[in-house]
């Protein structure tokens, strides 16, 4: 008999769009260029209609502690970015779900990433940065990254934790995270069988 293939086919991942929000053009700039396109070569003064973007941003943690950072650093969080660009004049930006120590860590991460040279590989730095954190802080940072909609920080922390979990047996995961198993013996046995029998490993 033949050994015709029965390999599991690789499923396609749906592509994640990572669109960078573009900063709206400075209205002064737009008007000037329109005029230049025309026949007149005279310079025409233009009045700006919007307040300029601030150089620094103030963030406010859960405890109302304030952190001052550069605009570019804060833009790695969609929440912060939107608060500023929406011109709501929300300065300081309230981040009520993030405690001060966690916010400090997020800022440290963003700073390092914005300061990176073009094409610089930060994998080692990321690993060391996250490796220094306690488990509790790690998970809090992931939650905060999700709340603040910071994709780079979220990807990084989640992948780091996921890599720890991978290849671990059930008992090892419990040990590592200090989790108590709350299944009865019977339930656990049934679930192991459930997994093994029906749903392909």
């Amino acid at each position: 008999m033949d050994m015709e293939d029965d390999t599991v086919q690789v499923r396609e991942n749906s592509a994640e769009d990572t669109e960078m929000l573009e900063l709206p053009k400075d209205p002064a700039e737009v008007k000037a260029s329109e005029f230049i396109k025309g026949e007149s070569s005279k310079e025409i003064p233009v009045e700006s209609q919007q307040p300029e973007l601030p150089e620094n941003v103030v963030l406010q943690s859960l405890e109302k502690e304030e952190f001052i950072i550069k605009l570019a650093v804060g833009q790695q969080s969609e929440i912060i970015k939107n608060a500023i660009l929406d011109g709501r004049g929300e300065n300081p930006v309230p981040l009520l779900n993030v405690s001060a120590p966690i916010l400090a860590k997020a800022i440290e991460f963003w700073k390092r990433h914005i300061d990176a040279a073009e094409g610089e590989d930060l994998t080692e730095w990321d690993k060391a940065f996250l490796g220094d954190l306690s488990q509790e802080v790690l998970f809090e940072l992931a939650a905060a990254a999700n709340y603040m909609e910071s994709k780079s920080l979220l990807d990084c922390t989640c992948k780091f934790i996921a890599d720890i979990i991978k290849e671990m047996k059930v008992e090892e995961v419990r040990d590592y995270f200090g989790i108590e198993c709350d299944f009865t013996e019977e339930e656990e046995r049934k679930m192991r069988e459930d997994n093994a029998w029906a749903f392909e490993q």
Partner: protein
């Protein structure tokens, strides 16, 4: 991939006793994809079980009778991707009655009402009716990105028309390879071309559908992302315009040279420059030059349905240093394999199918043996998958593979029946060396002849198959003792197929009980008892036992007597099931347990 919390943005701070915020756990688990990691995660504690259930994106149900659709839904109702397998693998060799089962209807009914997030459905070896497709696309057509009806049967081109109309917004993949489809007309392809603009993969290879080349051209014009196309037979000279339009095409299969020899019919055929994967039917020596231009960049080449000689293979493969996947018939010969070993250093997958058995049609040099295999092992260290029909074999060739093919995950060897004498049997030591050396091996098939593997060799299979999850064994071992020793090992073996063996029913039942991870067993060709009730030794809760009585009416295609004899013999199919006894047994299948 993960990153996004399930639905709404939530300011939850809910945290359980282990101090991990729910939100964080959901995010993290989104990055855990491997099914085995997911299984471990789901067993940690109740909360993790439920977070896994909510965030698991893909599930494969290895045999559709192992669980009910309701069970799947109760646990994983946010599934985005589902793969279901129906008929046993042996169905691909016409060994399973057509009405055995594997009906998609109950699953599709559940999908229509319950699985709100489903984007991808893959059905393999199942019976799918037009009415089922109608239910599916009515409920999920607006979301489905991928539909694969893979070696399925029971539907017609009317179903394809429905898909073309209802899934026009999102459908990126439509895969129908080797399905038996009733061909009413070719309108489905026209509808697809007119309604869809995002299609990237279309495959109706090895179906008997007839289509109009101009509809393919229209498809290429409207679907600018079309990167993979595999079609049923269509002469390549009719595809000139299509190839000119489909500039994004990277993968093409099917299409044929219906005219061979002296002809300028194919002069105008120019393949798109991005093509990296190619398989053309009936290509002969004279037609080879049409693809020379592409060879240097080719990653995948399928020559299984060509008319090339051994020498042709050598000439062609010499030009393809970047090949990662190669599929050929054994006409490639040892000489061709030596060229592969010298040239294709990046080769990952190699399949060598059997050629025609009839004398006169064979190429004299078209034999693959230990010579070619040894060269391959030495020359292609990246190999992960080898499937080969050999005419001759030695222990040292298998030892070479064990020594050099360290990346091997999947190894399948069939020893052809043609030659009277094989150089070096039994293969006990070679098999042991291969298993010990190839530590990543997960799938393994060995189909030999009596004397090919002794009981000692069979015990090696048990002792050294640490990570192997699937095995097909044919004509191995000498007695029940060998099987018993085998069953004491194989600690990760989940799926076992046995053919043409000398084991008794009773021994088979005991082996099934012993193998610690076994959840699927298929056997054909064994020492049957008079009543068949020795099998009941393996009866236990959640273990279905099906018996397919001998079918003398099976027409034997093979010329080999031994093989023909086995085709019509009784079969045992046994598998773990949470769903209990099937409700759709046909007459050709007897449920032994539960009865």
């Amino acid at each position: 991939m993960g990153g996004e919390v399930l639905d709404e943005r939530r300011l939850r701070r809910s945290v359980s006793s282990d101090g991990i915020p729910d939100v964080a756990l959901e995010c993290v688990l989104g990055y855990v994809d491997d099914p085995r990691d997911r299984d471990a995660v789901s067993l940690v504690c109740r909360r993790w079980y439920w977070v896994d259930a909510l965030t698991r994106k893909h599930v494969t149900v290895a045999i559709c009778y192992s669980a009910t659709p309701g069970m799947l839904c109760r646990r994983f109702n946010r599934l985005e991707s589902l793969k279901l397998k129906g008929k046993p693998r042996a169905a691909m060799f016409n060994l399973i009655p057509e009405d055995w089962g594997g009906y998609a209807a109950p699953w599709i009914a559940e999908i229509a009402v319950a699985f709100q997030c489903l984007k991808s459905l893959h059905l393999r070896r199942m019976i799918v009716r037009d009415a089922d497709i109608e239910v599916l696309v009515k409920a999920r057509g607006h979301m489905l990105q991928s539909i694969k009806l893979d070696k399925c049967s029971g539907f017609s081109t009317d179903a394809l028309k429905l898909i073309a109309r209802s899934c026009s917004r999102c459908l990126r993949t439509l895969f129908l390879e080797e399905s038996s489809i009733t061909d009413n007309d070719s309108e489905w392809l026209h509808e697809l071309a007119v309604n869809n603009t995002v299609l990237a993969t279309l495959n109706f290879y090895m179906t008997e559908l007839s289509i109009l080349p101009k509809d393919l051209e229209l498809l290429a014009r409207n679907c600018r992302s079309l990167s993979s196309l595999k079609i049923s037979e269509c002469d390549l000279s009719d595809l000139v315009d299509f190839f000119q339009t489909a500039t994004a095409l990277e993968d093409f299969g099917g299409g044929s040279f219906n005219d061979q020899g002296e002809t300028n019919r194919y002069d105008r055929v120019i393949f798109p420059s991005r093509l990296r994967c190619l398989g053309l039917n009936y290509m002969g020596t004279n037609e080879m030059p049409t693809i020379f231009r592409l060879c240097a960049a080719l990653k995948k080449l399928d020559l299984q349905y060509t008319f090339l000689s051994t020498e042709d293979h050598c000439q062609l493969i010499q030009r393809c240093p970047n090949l990662e996947i190669l599929e050929v018939r054994n006409v490639i010969g040892d000489r061709g394999l030596e060229v592969v070993a010298e040239t294709c250093k990046k080769l990952q997958r190699l399949r060598i199918e059997r050629g025609d058995d009839e004398p006169g049609l064979q190429d004299e040099q078209g034999r693959v043996s230990q010579v070619g295999l040894s060269a391959l092992a030495l020359g292609c260290p990246e190999l992960e998958y080898i499937a080969v029909y050999v005419s001759d074999i030695t222990n040292s060739a298998l030892e070479s593979i064990g020594t050099y093919s360290k990346n091997l995950c999947d190894f399948r060897l069939v020893l052809l029946d043609r030659e009277e004498r094989v150089t070096d049997l039994p293969l006990d030591n070679g098999v042991r060396a291969l298993l010990r050396g190839c530590t990543k091996l997960q799938r393994f098939a060995l189909y030999l002849r009596p004397g090919g593997l002794s009981d000692v060799g069979l015990s090696y299979l048990g002792d050294y198959s640490n990570n192997i999850r699937y095995m097909l064994l044919g004509n191995v071992g000498e007695s029940d003792l060998g099987l018993m020793h085998f069953a004491r090992g194989c600690k990760n073996l989940q799926k076992l197929e046995l053919r043409s063996c000398c084991f008794s029913e009773h021994a088979l039942a005991l082996a099934a009980l012993k193998l610690p991870s076994l959840r699927y067993l298929w056997v054909q060709g064994y020492k049957a008892s008079r009543t068949g009730y020795d099998l009941m030794a393996m009866a236990r809760p959640y273990w279905n036992i099906e018996f397919i009585p001998p079918r003398p009416e099976i027409y034997d295609h093979a010329t080999d007597d031994r093989r023909a004899c086995v085709d019509s013999q009784a079969q045992i199919l046994s598998y773990y099931s949470l769903a209990g006894k099937r409700t759709d047994y046909p007459e050709s299948v007897i449920p032994l347990y539960p009865s």
